[in-house]
């Protein structure tokens, strides 16, 4: 059974060969054959990490057989009959392929699934993105896997014919076909390099052949993470083909294996794997390459224990800049701001004095829209007070005051009565209720009671790094008695106990994020720079999630359900975000070019924004439970 397993793998990797060659592993493994002294119960550990069971003692045998096979290939009639195709001339190649092929591939019994990994990758939701769109995952399992086995029974089979649209899709999705002619390849190392080279040339040709071929960028990561989407088609005669999608899958396997190795503190293995990941990633294109790069970097940091990777003093200014680019290039932050503003606006209906406390002041991009809405509301604008909280700045510039000044200018222009106060705090837990409260009427403040709203965008999860911090902040919030608390958080569980769970979750989440950035990118220079900086912004988060531990790991994202439980458990009750917010959010997303992948959903009164089927951020609104007496008290005060 082990041999069969390997054969089918080998067939997938290299194409049709005489079935006499046993134990042919994918070529990348050749590199690791030298490391077969990982005596770990006789099974080669590196390959085991990929899900292939090969005895270490067999490794030399395997290497020898590989060499034999190569000699056989060179000498056989395969070499003379091979037709060379120039992968950079995609349209002509496609024409010749289509004219040559006649019948659909015969149905074959299901082969052993070579992609099974012992990690049981959670089935990624069948991403509606195009590369899986043509195939039901169940069908993919039968048709594609069977076609790989076809290649193993090589001489007896007619060249399997590919559905024309499948061929088109394949060539569209990155020029996946790579042709191996009769070039003798002595060691699998060179074969690997050759594969990389031709695949990279085909991916560059993909860029060039925009025209008739389906415009589909490199296979999306979501589809690659689902084991069923192993869409390799190798034909036997006359052309030997290799798929870069297969490389993508190996990349994911390598990432998982490396994470597992790191988790088990097996740093030698992890080191090799990290290097392999980098090589594999360079052959991919688009989002996959970037995500793999960032995860590889994070894993490398963890292996080599590079702490602290982020110089904290430069941190806040730099991360502000990055967040601005993130704000501009994709709708997540805009969605967060617009939905939170709508909830706050509705909560402030009818109030003459309002106070907003912003835990995530940064550049204050959320507040112009709210001020404008308050200015235009029926009954005129209230007097608006804003308290901004931010981290200390490295160069002693008072960024908070500058933001406040700009907001004051805007408020003056649109005739909204505005007051601003900035608080510098290392952590939100340092805040005390008395700092946030206003002057009481006795000491000169206005007689009208103030209605308070608290806003937090991507800030609360940082408090989970220190035990007790979140509870303190929630207690402070309760003490201020806000009318509404708006919370926007990432919709992912990056705070689970085991490292592997966290890693897998993060891989899925950030792959989807990067996919969405890819989808929305215009080709303009500034937009590209924005996209790049957004990727760096996300890359830092990835680094933090993967490579840090303890109090350094501040990106402790939790899902909406988890936050709901927390908030409900500390005395808050949910406020439903109205349909106005939903409509505005949907309209906002319709404006983004490439925005047909974004989805706004409403989940029990909270709004989530996601890419295709995966929600990525969630906005929720809360109020202190049992607070109806305070609102009626203020209503009574208004009546007087």
């Amino acid at each position: 059974m082990k041999r069969d397993h390997l054969e089918s793998v080998g067939g997938r990797g290299i194409g049709g060969y005489a079935p006499a060659a046993p134990g042919m592993t994918g070529t990348g493994k050749g590199k690791m054959m030298g490391l077969d002294e990982e005596a770990d119960g006789g099974i080669d550990e590196l390959l085991a990490a990929f899900g292939y069971n090969v005895r270490s003692s067999d490794m030399a045998d395997v290497a020898e057989k590989l060499e034999q096979l190569e000699m056989a290939m060179v000498g056989s009639h395969l070499a003379s009959d091979t037709v060379h195709y120039n992968p950079s001339d995609l349209s002509n190649w496609l024409e010749s392929m289509l004219s040559e092929l006649s019948a659909p591939p015969p149905e074959l019994p299901q082969a052993i699934h070579p992609n099974s990994s012992r990690y049981n990758l959670p089935q990624a939701p069948a991403s509606a993105h195009s590369s899986t769109a043509f195939f039901d995952p169940a069908d993919a399992l039968t048709t594609t896997e069977s076609s790989t086995v076809t290649s193993v029974d090589f001489p007896a089979q007619p060249p399997p014919v590919v559905f024309p649209d499948f061929a088109a899709r394949q060539s569209g999705s990155g020029g996946n076909r790579v042709v191996y002619g009769s070039e003798p390849q002595i060691d699998s190392g060179t074969r690997d390099r050759k594969r990389m080279k031709t695949s990279s040339s085909s991916s560059s040709s993909r860029g060039g052949s925009g025209g008739g071929v389906i415009v589909q960028s490199s296979p999306t990561i979501g589809s690659l993470l689902a084991p069923a989407s192993g869409t390799e088609v190798s034909s036997a005669l006359p052309v030997v083909m290799v798929d870069t999608q297969e490389v993508g899958i190996r990349l994911v396997h390598a990432l998982m294996a490396c994470a597992e190795a790191v988790h088990q503190e097996n740093f030698k293995v992890a080191d090799v794997l990290v290097r392999q990941i980098t090589v594999l990633a360079s052959s991919q294109g688009g989002a996959m390459r970037k995500v793999a790069g960032y995860f590889a970097e994070a894993l490398a940091r963890k292996i080599y224990r590079l702490h602290p990777q982020q110089d904290c003093s430069l941190d806040s200014a730099f991360s502000d800049i990055l967040q601005m680019h993130f704000y501009e290039s994709c709708p997540y932050l805009k969605f967060a701001h617009f939905t939170a503003n709508q909830a706050i606006l509705e909560a402030f209906a009818g109030c003459r004095r309002v106070h907003v406390i912003d835990f995530s002041m940064k550049q204050g991009m959320q507040w112009p829209a709210l001020m404008q809405a308050l200015a235009l509301r029926p009954g005129g604008p209230p007097s608006f007070r804003l308290t901004g909280i931010g981290p200390p700045q490295p160069d002693n510039t008072d960024a908070l005051q500058q933001v406040g000044w700009k907001l004051a200018q805007l408020a003056d222009t649109i005739h909204v009565d505005f007051e601003y106060r900035g608080f510098v705090a290392n952590s939100l837990a340092d805040l005390e209720p008395f700092m946030l409260e206003t002057l009481s009427p006795a000491s000169g403040g206005s007689a009208e009671p103030e209605v308070v709203a608290i806003n937090s965008v991507f800030e609360l999860h940082r408090l989970l790094a220190r035990p007790g911090a979140l509870e303190k902040v929630l207690a402070t919030i309760r003490a201020v008695k806000p009318r509404i608390v708006t919370v926007v958080e990432q919709e992912a569980n990056h705070n689970a106990g085991p490292f592997m769970e966290r890693f897998t979750e993060a891989l899925h989440y950030y792959s989807t994020m990067f996919d969405s950035l890819e989808g929305g990118a215009g080709a303009a220079g500034e937009a590209q720079q924005d996209q790049l900086m957004s990727e760096v912004y996300l890359g830092r988060q990835i680094c933090n999630v993967v490579a840090c531990e303890g109090s350094e790991r501040t990106e402790r994202h939790e899902t909406l359900t988890q936050w709901r439980t927390r908030m409900a458990g500390t005395g808050f009750e949910p406020v439903h975000i109205g349909s106005n917010a939903f409509k505005q959010a949907s309209m906002l997303l319709a404006l983004f070019a490439g925005g047909d992948g974004y989805r706004v959903e409403e989940k029990e009164g909270c709004l989530t924004l996601g890419w295709h089927t995966r929600p990525l951020i969630a906005t929720s609104a809360w109020r202190v439970a049992g607070a109806t007496d305070s609102s009626s008290a203020s209503a009574a005060a208004d009546a007087h």
Partner: protein, 150 residues
């Protein structure tokens, strides 16, 4: 007799020039759509001046996003005027929404479009204030069509 009167009338008609009556011209231009209005602004100096009147653009904006808030005009004027509102927000928004197929003309949809436009407009104004670290106001860049610079 009738011919002479007819001739005099035709003479009068011939001597009437739209450029003599700027308000009438403005009224007419106010019924144009965005691109046509921009084209009208290229005709001559007078037309350029008239077509830059904010009332003209206000009428245009109101056709896209009905402004039912009484203070809207003041706010928009403060933030830069209807012409800027149209050029930066309402126009691109309408085009983008038309492309993506959202032709909703219900009052709620139009009101949502208005509030969205105004919000984006105010964010844009805010970005242009002061120097800060942002040399270019770019929060509305996502509304521009991507330029192929390959």
């Amino acid at each position: 007799m009738e011919n002479a009167e007819g001739e005099k009338e035709r003479d009068n008609t011939r001597r009437y020039n739209i450029n003599d009556n700027h308000d009438l011209l403005a009224e007419i231009l106010a019924r144009l759509d965005g691109p046509s209005l921009a084209a009208a602004a290229s005709v001559c100096r007078l037309w350029r001046a008239v077509s830059r009147r904010d009332t003209v653009w206000e009428a245009l904006c109101n056709r896209h996003v009905a402004a039912d808030f009484p203070g809207t005009r003041a706010v928009v004027a403060a933030l830069g005027g209807y012409r800027r509102l149209y050029c930066r927000c309402v126009g691109p928004i309408s085009n983008r929404l038309a492309v993506s197929g959202e032709h909703a003309t219900t009052a709620a949809a139009v009101a949502a479009r208005l509030s969205l436009s105004l919000s984006l407009f105010s964010i844009d104004y805010y970005e242009r204030l002061g120097d800060g670290g942002w040399q270019r106001p770019s929060s509305l860049l996502f509304l521009r069509s991507p330029v192929d610079v390959s």
